[in-house]
């Protein structure tokens, strides 16, 4: 097991991602944030918290999206859905999707399908903590990346959060 990011590094990375988000979406004008269930929401919660501090305001449009019903491997075992909560329209909005790890790209493909059922956004951007480049199975790339990781097929990259897994860190396991 090798640690890629420790808690302090993750917190700095989250600050940077929030700043970069604002660079492209000034004041979050017409921009909404959507975290992907189940594991992306820990990151999106923290990015939204950071954005609130930077902007010193609370009214950020922030939703959660579950992609279970849109998976392309739905017949390979039972997938239990999580909560989706998008209490605003995404029609003609700029949407920033947030997930912890970008690997094959299949989750994001499903998320893009799911999003279209809520409206037609002006633009969709993708923000991830870890980008496992060279492992993609679909032509999908992130707009904001915490750390790029080159890991082999057999390795697992795990993002752990204190509130769920006791400690905050990113590790590679064999």
């Amino acid at each position: 097991m090798k640690t890629i990011l420790n808690e302090q590094q993750i917190s700095l990375t989250i600050q940077r991602l929030a700043q970069q988000l604002l660079e492209n979406n000034l004041n979050l004008h017409n921009t909404v944030i959507i975290g992907l269930q189940p594991r992306g929401i820990y990151l999106s919660d923290k990015i939204v918290d950071a954005l609130k501090v930077i902007l010193s305001r609370n009214g950020i449009e922030y939703g959660l999206l579950d992609i279970t019903f849109y998976r392309d491997d739905i017949r390979r075992g039972l997938h239990i859905p999580n909560k989706t909560e998008i209490n605003f329209t995404i029609e003609k909005k700029r949407v920033v999707l947030i997930d912890d790890v970008l690997y094959t790209g299949r989750t994001i493909r499903a998320a893009l399908d799911a999003l279209t059922d809520f409206g037609r956004p002006e633009k969709v951007e993708l923000c991830v903590l870890i980008d496992r480049r060279f492992s993609r199975e679909l032509p999908i790339q992130p707009d904001y990346t915490g750390r790029v990781v080159d890991a082999t097929e057999t390795q697992k990259v795990q993002v752990r959060w204190k509130e769920k897994d006791d400690r905050t860190e990113v590790v590679i396991t064999e």
Partner: protein, 309 residues
């Protein structure tokens, strides 16, 4: 986590964790139904046939909407417009339909046990949409979902099931479900419409006093008087039934607390339920119908998803 059964034949066969899984999954589908596009692609590789050997409005439309909102291919069949009237057996009918590559069967039949018989002889997943006077599992599930929705939980809730218990598959499915999930059940109705030994067979109380039971309960699930299944007079007149066991505005207003009124439909207005009660603010009858689609989507999703692994 997956369902412990390949079919949904009755609540009797379900474990409490199966019921929990269905109700929790239904919550997510209820959210899907609030979206601008109320449809997900989960079942687009699945073909479902709705076999209705007995009449139905709500259940049939509810199942069909649930199927279509999961993107399944849907075939409808009603016995009256089919070769059943030419003398074909049920098993032949179903096998012929299945040979056209159908994955799931939703069936309603006037004979109790018809879907259980089918499940033994055909390879498809079967969902019981009501069999005779036996069970109507999806109705009990949507009733439970609606009780949770309206009151927050099932465990510890006091539920009265009122009316024609004898001929009601809704009552039996509800009794199974509510007792499995830790709710308390009292059935109330005229002695002729309550089966003997019900108290001994199930963990329920029997009462013949409507007012006392309404005062006790948090939720009243009022059943339809099923005249079509009663082949002998079991009470003297509908008017007398209404006076003794019908729920009126005056009766409700006389209670010391507000209770939730449910009815599986179709309502006989002025018999078991007066109009101003059915349409009153205690009634969640239309929410039940709305929740029915989400609950059926959950059942279909969970049964279709038993994939190859």
């Amino acid at each position: 986590m997956k369902l412990s059964t390949p079919h949904l034949l009755g609540i009797k066969d379900l474990q409490s964790q199966d019921i929990r899984l269905i109700l929790d999954t239904a919550k997510q589908f209820k959210e899907v139904l609030q979206r601008p596009i109320k449809k997900v692609p989960s079942l687009r590789d699945i073909t479902i046939v709705n076999l209705f050997f007995e009449n139905s409005t709500r259940t049939r439309i509810s199942f069909e909407l649930a199927e279509r909102r999961l993107s399944a291919d849907v075939v409808n069949f009603s016995a009256s417009a089919s070769s059943v009237s030419k003398g074909e057996t049920m098993l032949d009918t179903v096998n012929n339909i299945l040979s056209m590559k159908v994955d799931m069967v939703v069936m309603r039949h006037s004979a109790s046990g018809a879907p259980h018989f089918l499940a033994k002889h055909i390879p498809a997943a079967i969902i019981n949409a009501g069999d005779g006077i036996n069970e109507h599992p999806t109705q009990a599930l949507l009733d439970a979902f609606s009780i949770e929705d309206a009151t927050g939980s099932l465990a510890g809730k006091k539920v009265a099931i009122i009316g024609d218990i004898m001929h009601s598959r809704v009552a039996l499915s509800n009794i199974y479900l509510l007792t499995k999930m830790g709710a308390e059940v009292t059935v109330v109705g005229p002695p002729t419409l309550i089966p003997k030994y019900l108290e001994q067979a199930f963990n329920v109380r029997v009462s013949y006093n409507l007012k006392e039971t309404l005062e006790w309960c948090d939720v009243a699930n009022v059943l339809r008087i099923q005249l079509e299944r009663q082949n002998q007079p079991l009470f003297s007149s509908l008017r007398e039934y209404n006076l003794a066991y019908g729920i009126s505005r005056k009766l409700l207003d006389g209670l010391s607390k507000k209770i939730v009124i449910m009815h599986p439909g179709p309502i006989n207005r002025g018999v078991e339920l007066d109009s101003d009660v059915a349409d009153g603010n205690e009634s969640i009858i239309l929410q039940q119908v709305e929740n029915g689609v989400a609950v059926r989507m959950a059942v279909l999703y969970l049964l279709a998803d038993r994939g190859e692994e």
